[in-house]
């Protein structure tokens, strides 16, 4: 979180909405630990990470959506059920990512 504060504040100072995505649950082997974070602004610019690059693209799209609707969302990524998840983690683990707009 510490390393993202200045980027969050710069975005807010420009009047951009900023969405925060946090890893809130992990299972098996995952590249980033519980609490790992990335931020996304309404232009799709991002900083930080929630995986080793496997799901960031999808999280950016979801972050922009959350900024549009104002409604937070819980995302689940894994490889256990390929029909449910169109993006997966190569390491075989699962993560839940909570995306919310920073108030």
């Amino acid at each position: 979180m510490r390393d993202l504060i200045s980027t969050i504040d710069a975005g807010r100072a420009r009047g951009d909405g900023v969405a925060l995505a946090t890893v809130v649950k992990t299972g098996g082997s995952t590249p980033r630990p519980l609490g790992a974070k990335m931020i996304v602004n309404s232009r799709g610019e991002f900083a930080g990470s929630v995986s080793g690059g496997c799901v960031e693209g999808a999280v950016i799209d979801e972050g922009r959506q959350v900024l549009k609707t104002g409604k937070p969302k819980l995302l689940k990524y894994g490889i256990a059920d390929e029909t449910a998840w169109d993006v997966g983690l190569s390491c075989g683990g699962m993560i839940e990512v909570f995306v919310e707009q920073i108030q």
């Binding site: 504060i5 946090t22 809130v24 108030q103």
Partner: protein, 247 residues
Amino acid sequence: MNIYDELKHNLADETLCAVATIVSGAANLGAKVLVYPDGRVRGDLGNASLNAEVMRDAQRLMQVEKSVNRVYGDAEIFIEVFAPKPKLIIFGGVHTAIPLTQFAQALGFRVTIVDGRGRFATRERFPSADEIIVAWPDEAIAQIKIDASTYVAILTHDPKFDIPALKALSATHPRYIGSMGSRETRKQHFAELRAAGVTDEFLATVHGPIGLDIGARTPEEMALAIIAEIVAVRYGRSGSFLSERSE
């Protein structure tokens, strides 16, 4: 001040706190509370008993600096602990304090050396120390912020310093206090401290002889035993062999 701004303030200020967020299930998706170690709560998860239950769990988690995902009824809640940079206060600018300073700094601790003897607490002996204080223990403790992310190692091994240090520390609440010295020395020091009004409850929290049992002989090995004990206390573990764990 909203929760994000207060958290930002706490991070800058190095204040220990936890944020709990409803991430799934319940009606109030995204509702948050900010919790402090003393039980103060900002925000609302939607009902008073949930706030109280999460507050108690967050207090326990802050003690071991651990974030968790937990289910309360139909609400999945992520409790994230934001811990400040740990601080190590070393009393006694002795030989073991030199490698201990290096090991602790490599592990991300801010290190302060305290000694009443100016010849021990020097910049030449401790070139990398974040702070060096030449003062008696009680004077030094009065000017240092001691909180739940502060760890104290008393290495002076001299009752002139050790006893006043423990007496002054008994009025503070660090995460860890370890004190160098044999069981016999410890018994004598504790008897004096009890006579001076220090409680058994406090004395029971003092780790002594200091360090994990790794057979340390040299100052470097003693420093390793001490910093390993500190890390084990930080994360609430026993410091035994991983290979002997059942899971």
